[in-house]
């Protein structure tokens, strides 16, 4: 304890010791200790640091410490053009970069008054849903691995690998995609990519059923997560949960339905909800969402119209490269957009999409310049981590690992 006093900043220690705890037993003080978990702990999914106040093995206080991956993206966004920031959105939630690309360009388009062509919107829907599947596969796999079921991780990552192959065909990058552009997407989706997406969806569901079978019949897994980290509907809303974590508490809140963007109005899908709000419900919900996303991708592939994939607004949308090399007009526009930006009108907007972790939104204040005056990233993981103390108090240390895995925080996004 004395040694820890030197290492932990006094303010953090104060916060930990004053943290409200409803769990008390007599002479708790004699058994108390403080445990530092992270930032280099494999089960904290990155660089999340937790300070735990323990009574025996039971947690009576928890203070999350963030900032170990803080790269100052909001500051950087204020100093670069809207186009330049697209690659940086890949590094926010690095498990589903495509969804972040979509969120960024949709926000910029709302600010600048651009509407992408129908085909581009359908392609964006497809990549956003595939990104959700990829993200949930990692979440479920890592969650199962954290509580000891190692095989599932290999199986889900094998499936994710196939999605990365689709990215590879679409834009040439497997991980940091930067595929979307303001006003559309970088290039039209190739027939091979669409065929591969269709193939993936068709073969995906049997594999998912296998994963589910493997976990649902695993008694150790079920008993370790059932009833652990439960949170009520009211608390979840009050603490700012969003996305799958909120829906696992019985709140039917999904921005695809509540504030539709892209063409989600034209797609038929269900919003799965569970009422228990514990780790098991969050795991079931992610699997259900994977199935719903697969359904959406299937419909998107059927309905995808032909046509251009970049809006015809030469003053605001970067032209295709082959046109820049051959046409004077396009060369001038390219020069102006790259050097001075797209100068959206003075104003402020907020636009959010239902990312794989929850509500991923961007708030812009524009002064009519090429770069935003202010850019705020509303990241779901940051807000989900906030509920962590509430979830872990009263549980054992080994349950902390399960709870972190089940709320699926990505530190790149939480720390910005």
């Amino acid at each position: 304890m004395n040694q820890l006093d030197d290492e932990i900043h006094p303010k953090i220690l104060d916060a930990l010791l004053q943290s409200r705890n409803d769990y008390t037993i007599e002479d708790a003080l004699e058994n108390e200790m403080i445990l530092n978990m992270g930032p280099q702990h494999p089960a904290t999914h990155g660089v999340l640091r937790l300070l735990l106040r323990l009574d025996g093995e039971r947690i009576i206080g928890c203070v999350p410490e963030l900032g170990y991956l803080h790269r100052g993206y909001e500051k950087m966004a204020e100093n670069m053009s809207y186009y330049e920031f697209i690659p940086h959105t890949d590094r926010l939630d690095y498990i589903s970069p495509m969804a972040n690309n979509v969120a960024w360009v949709l926000a910029v388009e709302k600010l600048a008054g651009i509407e992408a062509p129908k085909r581009a919107q359908y392609i964006r829907m497809m990549i956003a849903e595939l990104a959700r599947i990829a993200s949930h596969l990692v979440a479920v796999g890592a969650f199962a691995m954290d509580v000891g079921a190692l095989t599932v991780f290999l199986w889900t990552l094998r499936e994710r690998e196939k999605i990365l192959d689709i990215w590879d065909i679409l834009c040439g990058a497997r991980f940091t995609n930067s595929y979307t552009r303001i006003g559309g997407v970088a290039n039209d989706a190739q027939p091979e990519a669409l065929a591969k997406a269709k193939w993936f969806i068709d073969q995906f569901e049997p594999y998912l059923a296998e994963v589910e079978q493997l976990l649902n019949t695993n008694r150790i897994f079920i008993e370790r997560v059932d009833g652990v980290g439960a949170i009520s509907k009211e608390d979840a809303i009050d603490l700012g949960f969003s996305g799958p974590n909120l829906r696992a508490c019985g709140v039917e809140f999904d921005l695809r339905r509540n504030a539709p963007y892209l063409c989600y109005n034209e797609i038929d899908f269900r919003i799965p909800t569970y009422t228990e709000g514990d780790c098991l419900a969050r795991y079931f919900l992610r699997l259900d969402e994977c199935r719903e996303s697969a359904k959406i991708v299937r419909q998107v592939l059927e309905k995808m119209p032909q046509g251009p994939v970049l809006a015809d607004m030469p003053k605001k949308v970067l032209p295709q490269k082959d046109e820049v090399y051959t046409k004077m007009e396009e060369l001038i526009h390219d020069f102006m957009i790259v050097n001075f930006g797209i100068n959206p009108p003075v104003g402020e907007i907020y636009h959010a999409i239902e990312g794989s972790k929850g509500e991923l939104g961007f708030y812009f204040v524009s002064k009519g310049e090429g770069h935003p005056w202010k850019c705020k990233i509303r990241s779901p993981s940051f807000n989900n981590i906030q509920a962590l103390p509430k979830l872990v108090i009263g549980h054992l240390i080994s349950d902390v690992v399960a709870i972190i895995g089940s709320i699926d925080p990505i530190m790149g996004e939480a720390d910005k």
Partner: protein, 162 residues
């Protein structure tokens, strides 16, 4: 009747002494008011049975650099009942760089206000745990203020002890 008319009307009826500045840009309603009323107004918006703004999505601030009221604190709240998003704003001057905390209304604003304090140096009165969110506790500056250089200030972050 449209919520965009109901909300300002209700606010004006319940807070007759407060001046509200209502604007609607790109289908997003923004209401601006004086910072000293922020907690009552937020509590009213949350508890009103017709509106029910239960979800506090985001709290942030904007630094206007040269303006008289240098900062604007922005609250982004959402009503699950109506699927309606509302933005609240309150100006904060640099000479009295503080505003009342709304953590008593939405617990979600705890981290969000800490982040705003860390990035802009705006103090939130009555906040239960106002520490820095991302930067180390010893750090003296507030990085999202406009006078903070993009490249950072060399030597401002101490190296860890050996």
């Amino acid at each position: 009747m449209d919520l965009k008319e109901i909300i300002p009307q209700k606010l004006k009826a319940n807070f007759p002494s407060v001046e509200f500045e209502v604007s609607d840009y790109k289908d997003e309603l923004t209401i601006k008011f004086d910072k000293k009323n922020v907690v009552e107004i937020c509590r009213f918006l949350k508890n009103d049975s017709e509106l029910q703004f239960l979800l506090c999505s985001d709290v942030t601030a904007v630094d206007w650099a040269t303006r008289k009221n240098r900062f604007t604190v922005v609250y982004n709240i959402f009503s699950l009942k109506h699927s309606f998003r509302l933005r609240l704003k309150a100006d904060v001057d640099e000479s009295d760089c503080s505003i009342d905390s709304v953590t008593s209304v939405w617990r979600a604003s705890n981290f969000q206000e800490r982040e705003t304090y860390d990035m802009y140096g705006i103090k939130f009165n009555n906040h239960p745990d106002l520490r820095r969110m991302y930067m180390p506790e010893e750090f003296e500056y507030h990085p999202l203020r406009k006078e903070f250089p993009l490249m950072g200030i060399p030597g401002s972050i101490p190296l860890p002890k050996k």
